[in-house]
Amino acid sequence: MNTAMDDGRHESLGEQTLSIPRLTDETLAAPHPPSPTHPDKPHAETADAEATPTEAADNADDTDDADDTETSAQAARDRGTSSEPSAAVRAEASGELSGAAPAEAAEEASADPDDEPQEEPSAKTDAPGEPDEAELPPSDKAEERSSDKAEERSSGKAEAAGRPSTGEAKGASAGEAEEELPAEAAEELMAALGALRESVADVRFGLDLPGAEEARQTRTELLAQLEDYVLPRVRTRAAPALIVVAGSTGAGKSTLVNSLAEKNISRTGVRRPTTGTPVLACHPGDRAWFVEGDLLRGLRRLDRPSPDAGMSSLVVVTTEKLPQGVALLDTPDIDSVVEEHHEVAHRMLDAADLWIFVTTAARYADAPAWNLLRLAKERGARLAIVLSRVQPRSREVVLKHFVRMLTEYGLGEIDRFVINESKVVDGRLPDSEVTDLRMWLAELSVDEARRAQAVKETLTGVLNSFRTRVPALAKHLETQVAFRSELRADVETAYRGALADVDRAFRSGSLLHGEVLARWQDFTGSGELMRSFQLRRRGKAARQAPERLGSFRTALRSGVESVIVAAATRAAEEVVGRWRRRAELGATLAEGLDRPSDDFLRQAGRAIAAWQDHVGELVSTEGVAKRSVSKLVSFDPESLSLIFMVAMFSGGHAEGVPHRLVNALLGAESLRGIGAKALSDLRARIGMLFDEESMRYVKALDSAGVPDESIATRLYQATYNLEVVR
């Protein structure tokens, strides 16, 4: 960095410290140590600067004080590790210490007699764990403000004094700290953000689980915010500040923007909701940045509002009346029936450097308004509140009540502006109503450091919010992955159970009931069994065609078939039942899958017939081993294979007729061999059938969308990398 720049910064630093002590005096913005949850934030300077109470009048002194503070803080700890000559960077370095250290340093350093030492300990004990709120209004021209305003602030002051305040924690120069980052650090930050953006873009939530809609929305928001705001903002820090005017329908956002711009740029009216397309008003000098820049790049730029502009456009209007360096963005509402408006409004807010929140005397207790305030608080966005349409006679009551609500909510210290209900002429308020706001804008415009700080603060808040928002996304992704694997496990369990059922049926002999048993009795009792054996020396001529063999074989096949079909049916129902119990989505996915597929019966029949043939082959090729038998007796291989199957299925009855028969014919050893082969072959065939069945469920799951596990890890990684780079 060149020295000229450094000089410039020192100057601006001076100006800034000028305004801050006034703030401290008038509005009791208690100085804070850096919040302990964000130890990496460059806060040291902040605390130093704020803790240095100087008289507003003495500009030069202030500058000196601030510099002194820094230098002594630096010297005291002797942590001049940075190669940068800039005080800001040094401050950042010291900010890496614990939260208490900078405040301590400030105490040591501030030799100013006007110090308020009692604020230091209180600031230390407060240590609020939330992102810091907005800074209070600049007060150079506070004297010019209306008496109402002064009263308001003093009441705010009184209330703020009574409780631990959540105040300003950052000095302006903190904003500069990162701007002076070495180029490669900025590069790294950009790279980390780019990686984050890519991993967020890759996230898909295929399963409509509870929370998926929110997660999808979060994803869209994150993506939009990264592209619309964070990346452009990190790339070019010196850009004009975008101030987004948001609030309820009918609160008068457009009227306010029109009045400030002194030009009818946004349509006003009695119809609710009025504004559908966001309208951006800026100084002609800033136009290029907003029209050609990357900020909100996804929106089509228009020169003037048109009724068919739609919501993905942005009207850019220039006006000389707005100071350079600040741009106002009029947004659709956050609470009307047109829900797309809420989305657009939130997208705009996500891209904002500062928020102006507009509410009215009739609305300030509305739930949506407070949801938005909560969001601002969570994001750590710089915020100013405008309470408009206040009847002059009820002004005090309303204001007091509203301030109390804000204070209870921890937002007591935010810039507030009150606009009386007054006659709107030509879509604009009387100029007197918006003077305060206009001055506030002018200050922002003039005081580059303040602006930069506000910009930086919101950016930091947004980056901080990634710490929770991105992991939340990853978490939901993991939920989806977990859900999916649970469903898959359900399928697997059910079909494994089915296979076990089949196995049990084969082993327990339960197959040999009903028709199979009757056919066996028929086969044996009618003497057919005996006839299938012939003594070898009688020759083969006498063999008759086995009459009952066919029906026995069929009975056996249909017996096995029914065992398989029953198991498959049970498994299908079990899967569907389990899926239904898990989630509503499970029921949707399982639609039409609650019974075996249509041709399952046919396939099972085919598989078993093939198995029977296979067993026949086994018996005739491998079962001839016992020569002593084959010398004496010839037998019909088909009958033998049937007897063999019966023996196999009769389970534990090793003493049964079929078992003893085949044992005698084939020999114990060869029987065991064939038995094992036949059974494992049958199991394999059934396993294949069941696999095909369970594929239907896997397909149904896959068609719903496959969340990729690795993306969750990438999200965590990207968040972590971002933190490291920051």
Binding site: V337, A365, D366, H401, D522
Partner: protein
């Protein structure tokens, strides 16, 4: 003029309300039949509505509960005061202003139980002695409620407004130019209002803030908005509590509803309609009413057939027939082939498996038992056939009902049929007679052979007493007789085997009939009955749903 009410009076007996009663009883049936079938949330709502309808109908029908509802700051309390003509409800600029519901009653008799039911606190109840106010006579019977808002941060934890919007007979939505298009009003309430036109009024309050043109534009916009959301003929009354504009029109709208005394019924009617729509959406009636409500004869037969197959009834019969035929051969058959076969060496004996052979031959009874997998499939296919086209929940229910006693069914079938299993070692008396006859024939054949031998080989040595034996002239006749004896044996063997087979097939038919009968009766009690109960429930549910729609 205003006084907290203290004397509760008995509610008037509800007069006959045609139309609503059958629909409510249909809803009762739905609530009874729904659990486990209908979504729990919907079921709870149905129960709540039923309860509310019962309560409301029991309470004063002379009164009409009109609630002023709306967002915070829309001016409900101001309107309340303007209509009642008194400063009853505190108004203010702080938001939210009204935290508890205020009530004003025109005509006190019988209102107290109603107010108790609405849970309006005693100190927030006021009454108007209507006779004293001129022009308010038409409002006699009105209970006007000033509700808390539904959209402030306070309302997030307070459901009072929500509850009373449900309970009131007529709801006046108080909208204002700032908030009339708020999502909190429209998404939560207005979109639910389709069919409620008769009991909903929209008051566009704070009309004094607008110019005439603006107001006209806004009224048009509001009408469009409401129509888009399904409120087809919205009643929109622009009012101003400050200037008093429109208050009279609002009063007359309310008075109309009050004097008709029908708002309570119309409200319940509309609520029922909405609920019916939602239930019908969750469980479309479609042709559910065409689904079978009983198990018809063909399906019963199908089930019995399938179960008979599972038990193996035809196979048992066939086996019996075959075994009888085989066994009878030992008794009634021509003995010679049997003897020849016996000479043949037994393969089992060669394999030293005599005991196996004995065992096979010695099987004395058939065993009848059910194969559980086939039983399961039989039951499954019945349920499949019956539940085709049903809503998945009902389909599952039918399956479950069919399977409810699945674990006992195979055993029950086996037990029921086992005493029918034919004995294979049964030997009828005529078999024995025939055996004797065959042996007599054999004896005759042997005797004939002996005669022949004597006549041929030693004609001279025959004692005189048996001279005829030596008569060579008789020998051809003897030979003929031998052939005849053999033939007679063979013929009677064939004939009696035919008789055996005939008898066996008759026996088989009898057996199969008896088995089928028993299978059918077991199936009837263990499968068909539970299934029919479920089918009746299904039918009852959808009938009730049909009856629910007007």
């Amino acid at each position: 003029m205003t006084a907290p009410m203290t004397t509760p009076t008995a509610a008037a007996a509800p007069p006959a309300r045609p139309g609503l009663a059958p629909r409510l009883s249909a809803l009762t049936r739905i609530v009874e039949l729904g659990p486990g079938r209908l979504d729990n949330k919907l079921l709870t709502e149905a129960g709540t509505l039923l309860q509310r309808a019962g309560d409301r109908l029991k309470l004063s029908s002379e009164h009409t509960v009109v609630a002023l509802a709306g967002g915070t700051g829309s001016g409900k309390s101001s309107l309340f005061n303007a209509v009642s003509g008194l400063e009853l409800s505190p108004t203010g600029v702080r938001r939210p202003t009204t935290g508890r519901t205020h009530a004003c009653v025109w005509g006190l008799d019988g209102a107290a139980p109603l107010l108790d039911w609405l849970k309006v606190e005693g100190r927030h109840r006021f009454s108007r002695a209507s006779a004293l106010d001129k022009g308010d006579g038409q409002l006699h019977g009105l209970i006007l409620l000033d509700l808390p808002d539904h959209d402030s941060i306070r309302a997030l934890t307070d459901t009072e407004a929500d509850r009373l919007i449900g309970q009131a007979d007529l709801v006046v939505w108080v909208l204002d130019p700032q908030k009339y298009a708020d999502a909190s009003t429209h998404r939560r309430y207005v979109t639910e209002l389709a069919g409620h036109e008769a009991v909903t009024v929209f008051a566009l309050n704070q009309a004094d803030r607008l110019t005439a043109e603006e107001l006209a534009e806004l009224v048009i916009d509001l009408n469009d908005l409401l129509r888009r959301e399904g409120v087809e003929h919205p009643t929109v009354v622009p009012t101003s509590a400050i200037t008093g504009r429109g208050i009279e029109s609002l009063k007359s709208v309310i008075a109309g509803a009050v004097s008709r005394r029908r708002a309570a019924i119309q409200k319940l009617d509309a609520d029922l309609h909405r609920l019916e729509q939602r239930v019908a959406k969750a469980m479309p009636v479609g042709d559910a009413l065409n689904a079978p409500s009983t198990v018809d004869e063909a399906r019963r037969m199908g089930l019995t057939d399938a179960l008979c197959d599972a038990v193996g009834v035809p196979a048992v019969g066939e086996a019996m027939e075959n075994v009888y035929a085989e066994r009878s051969n030992q008794w009634v058959g021509w003995p010679y082939p049997r003897w020849i076969a016996k000479l043949r060496p037994d393969p089992l004996k060669t394999l030293r498996l005599d005991d196996v052979g004995d065992e096979i031959r010695g099987i004395s009874t058939t065993t009848v038992s059910a194969q559980s997998a086939e039983v399961a499939n039989a039951v499954q296919s019945l349920a499949d056939g019956l539940s085709t086209g049903m809503h998945p929940v009902w389909r599952t229910a039918v399956h479950q009902a069919a399977r409810s006693r699945m674990s006992q069914l195979p055993k029950a079938l086996t037990d029921e049929l086992s005493d029918l299993a034919p004995r294979l070692d049964h030997v009828p008396g005529w078999w024995r007679l025939l055996k004797i006859w065959q042996y007599v024939l054999v004896a005759a054949f042997v005797a004939g052979l002996a005669w022949l031998a004597v006549g041929v080989f030693m004609p001279g040595q025959v004692p005189d007493a048996l001279r005829v034996l030596g008569d060579t002239a008789a020998l051809p006749w003897v030979g003929l007789m031998l052939v005849a004896v053999l033939g007679l044996g063979a013929l009677s063997g064939i004939a009696s085997r035919n008789f055996v087979e005939l008898g066996a097939s008759k026996e088989r038919e009898r057996l199969e009939r008896e088995m089928r009968r028993r299978v059918a009766s077991v199936a009837g009690t263990m499968v068909v009955e539970p299934v029919e109960r479920e089918l009746a429930r299904h039918h009852g549910f959808y009938t009730a749903l049909r009856d629910l729609s007007p």
